[in-house]
């Protein structure tokens, strides 16, 4: 595999792991991390989060992954699935690589 692609995938995996950890530890999602599909919806009955959890999720994304929302308007499109959170962290999280 192309090294640049391999690095991207590795980075994506690490952020995915972090997001799953946030969901389990901070948001009390009662699932094993590998059951949390990247495309699982966060709200409704996907992972069962609700509006109160959304706040906690954003705060955790900031403290764990350094995500700073450039503007309020991004919070809704970013908080749809696990994968959209990973996208958010890739675009607006800490630029230094996330440690494993």
């Amino acid at each position: 595999m192309n090294p640049e692609l391999a690095r991207y995938i590795q980075r994506r995996e690490r952020i995915l792991d972090k997001v799953r950890t946030i969901l389990v530890d901070r948001l009390h999602v009662s699932r094993a991390p590998d059951e949390i599909d990247p495309d699982a919806p966060l709200f409704g009955t996907g992972l069962g989060l609700d509006s109160v959890d959304a706040v906690e999720l954003l705060v955790s994304m900031e403290s764990e992954l350094g995500v700073k929302l450039p503007h309020e308007g991004l919070s809704r499109p970013a908080m749809r699935t696990v994968n959209t959170l990973v996208d958010l962290a890739l675009a607006h999280g800490r630029t230094d690589d996330v440690d494993g």
């Binding site: 948001l27 009390h28 999602v29 009662s30 069962g48 609700d50 509006s51 109160v52 959890d53 706040v55 906690e56 705060v59 900031e62 403290s63």
Partner: protein, 680 residues
């Protein structure tokens, strides 16, 4: 059958208010008359880092605990306004009850001590009860004050509420995105609420006695209703069904129809979710009249005074009624769709005669409370009390979850020194999602489910709306509290944990339990410190026996350990009784809740005497239930309820005919007598 007769309703003979509009009820009303709100930039603490800086703060310097200071000032004003003196030459202190509604207060190490301080300051020596159902606390407190008077447990009730706007509460609402960037504009744009604070009290007396002493009757308290949304920790049921149940309960209790209500003082916080759900409820209850009914929100003047909101808003309503005026909704400029047709928009009260007004409040945990007041001359039906039966019992604690294990442990009389057992809530309530539940919620939900199972009751359909939950406890879950404190320490106030914040209200575990067990009828959470559960049981018995909108009440005490050491001698868990009443539940089980008594702090003898007298038995025939504390460890909310579960079991087994469960209590002494059905 319950018989109905018209009688003089409880009279409101005095009121006092401390709010953003000043330190008296007069100051509150003159500001409303002049269209002046009390919302200003907050100065008492820093709002740096928050997107909102406004609050409805009580002006001026405060000495001591603001919650107690506000309440003491308001209670003194109310007593003076009623022309009542407590003590020599006036009413005896031990015949005066204090019912104080308060929300978070962040007084986690003794929420009941605020009421104790206020009682002490004004000379109250009777039962001192703290209702804590977040933002509906004081509305509920008024109803409880009424019930105490009608049950003869006091001669005067000082009922109302107090709350302080603390940085934590401000930060919690901010984190939840509930605050309005500008002054809150209920039913209008922009959405969001403005927090406030203050205290308000009403002096309540039995109608005939108030008139006999020549008191000026300001208004009558005609009825009240409680309900559980059984929906969500912070969001109201958007269909409005939960609020509608409280409104209907109040109407039924007042013996009146929706058509007789001339004005609704709404909770109207300004948040999109509350205002829409509340108006949905008003539409459901008032039907086509909703299109012509004046509905206003006093929060546009005061901000959201949390636990004190209901009583302060009622005081605004009463001041208006006295002058044939309706308080307006300020800042109403850009109406939201599907909001009140007549929000009384403007900055001056509307001239209109109001015979009866309805005030509604809703709260975190889904606890709704509505109260109906009328002009002095109105009467209301009073129901004779039905007999209260114990249909089922449960106890989840250090002994385990097995009811019999409690008896074994008590018989062995050895300190258990362990936590309540670990269990999955789904194993007891298969349709329950246990995600994020703290131990207090789990214990309470488990105890409720087990008690219902013990009673052989499956709640279906409309029966759920006639089944409720009354809880006595002393503090929010210590696990949630730690999570909350840690989030502030680690991330700062601006980024505190919103999820943990929602569990910091005393009624959080009741909210979860009502949802999981689908208990949609009346709900409340109260505290007296020690003995809280037993007091909740007494309130449940009073409430159940005199109302036609409820068939079943679950009464429970719950505690979660504070100490982290696993072998500490500290109890925890929950014990629950399912109460039913004659004639509906006549066929089942064989234990009656035959008598109860409440008295001032420490006066357990008086509480016992009352309970035994009410049970109509002789003291020598009564077995006194043992104190469970030496075995289970101290458990202020649940201990006496564990003893009640034991009492019920021993009667069913035939060991005793009559068992007395006394508790000297914290701010109120309490006693309950259980009897074998049919025993003389």
């Amino acid at each position: 059958m319950l018989s109905q007769m018209q009688s003089l309703p409880v009279a409101i003979t005095g009121m006092g208010a401390v709010s953003a509009l000043g330190a008296t009820a007069t100051a509150l009303w003159s500001a409303v008359e002049e269209g002046r709100d009390g919302i200003r930039p907050i100065e008492r603490f820093s709002t740096d880092g928050f997107s909102v800086s406004l609050g409805g703060m009580v002006p001026g310097a405060i000495s001591g605990d603001p919650c107690a200071a506000f309440a003491t000032t308001a209670a003194r004003e109310a007593l003076a306004n009623a022309g009542l003196q407590i003590g020599p030459g006036g009413v005896a202190g031990r015949r005066v009850a204090l019912v104080l509604g308060t929300s978070l207060g962040m007084h986690v190490d003794g929420l009941h001590l605020v009421a104790a301080e206020v009682a002490h300051a004004v000379g109250i020596e009777g039962p001192t009860l703290t209702v804590s159902t977040a933002c509906s606390s004081s509305t509920n407190a008024l109803g409880l004050g009424r019930d105490l008077l009608e049950a003869g447990l006091c001669d005067v009730a000082i009922a109302g509420g107090t709350d302080e706007l603390t940085p934590e509460i401000f930060a919690g609402f901010h984190a939840l995105g509930l605050l309005c960037p500008s002054k809150c504009a209920p039913f209008s744009e922009p959405v969001g609420t403005t927090l406030g604070e203050g205290a308000g009290f009403l002096v309540l007396e039995r109608g005939d006695e108030a008139r006999a002493r020549g008191a000026r009757v300001l208004a009558t308290l005609l009825g009240y209703g409680l309900s559980a949304d059984a929906y969500h920790p912070t969001s109201p049921d958007p269909t409005g069904a939960g609020v509608a149940r409280a409104l209907r309960g109040a109407l039924l209790d007042a013996g009146t129809e929706a058509d007789s209500i001339d004005y609704v003082n709404a909770h109207g916080t300004g948040t999109a979710a509350n205002d829409a759900a509340e108006y949905r409820a008003i539409e459901q209850v008032f039907g086509e009249r909703a299109a012509r009914l004046p509905v206003s929100s006093t929060k546009s003047f005061l901000g959201h005074a949390q636990g004190a909101a209901g009583v302060l808003e009622l005081i605004a309503t009463l001041c208006g009624m006295a002058q044939d005026k309706i308080p307006p909704t300020l800042h109403y400029e850009k109406p939201r769709p599907r909001s009140p047709a007549d929000p009384v928009a403007g900055d001056r009260p509307r001239v209109a005669r109001v015979e009866r007004a309805l005030c509604n409040n809703s709260a975190f945990g889904g606890a709704n409370a509505a109260v109906i007041v009328g002009r002095a001359e109105h009467t209301a039906p009073r129901q004779t009390a039905a007999k209260v039966l114990v249909l089922g019992a449960s106890a989840v604690g250090p002994h385990g979850m097995d009811f019999d294990a409690l008896e074994v442990a008590l018989a062995a009389n050895v300190p258990l020194r362990r936590r309540a057992p670990a269990f999955r809530i789904e194993s007891l309530i298969p349709t329950a999602d246990g995600r994020g539940m703290d131990p207090a919620s789990r214990y309470l939900s488990a105890a409720a489910a087990l008690a219902l199972a013990d009673a052989g009751i499956t709640l279906r359909g409309a029966k759920r709306e006639r089944a409720g939950l009354f809880v006595g406890t002393t503090r929010a879950s210590t696990e949630s509290e730690r999570e909350f404190r840690d989030s502030i320490r680690e991330r700062g106030l601006v980024r505190l944990s919103a999820t943990a914040f929602t569990r910091m209200v005393l009624n959080a575990s009741a909210g979860t339990c009502t949802k999981l067990c689908a208990l949609k009828g009346p709900t409340t959470t109260l505290t007296t410190g020690e003995g809280s559960g037993l007091v909740a049981l007494i309130y449940a018995a009073m409430h159940l026996s005199t109302r036609s909108d409820v068939d079943l009440l679950l009464a429970a005490g719950v505690d979660e350990r504070v100490c982290l050491e696993s072998d500490a001698h500290e109890g925890e868990g929950a014990a629950c009784l399912v109460l039913g009443k004659t004639p509906a539940s006549d066929a089942s089980k064989a234990v009656r809740l035959a008598g109860f008594g409440l008295a001032g702090p420490g006066d357990v003898e008086e509480a016992k005497r009352r309970a035994i007298r009410m049970a109509g038995i002789d003291e020598k025939d009564v077995f006194v239930a043992p104190d469970v504390t030496p075995v289970l460890g101290p458990a202020p909310g649940a201990a006496a309820m564990f003893a009640c579960a034991f009492a019920v079991a021993s009667i069913l087994r035939g060991t005793w005919e009559h068992v007395l469960v006394p508790d000297p209590g914290g701010t109120a002494a309490a006693a309950v007598v259980f009897s074998r059905k049919g025993a003389a």
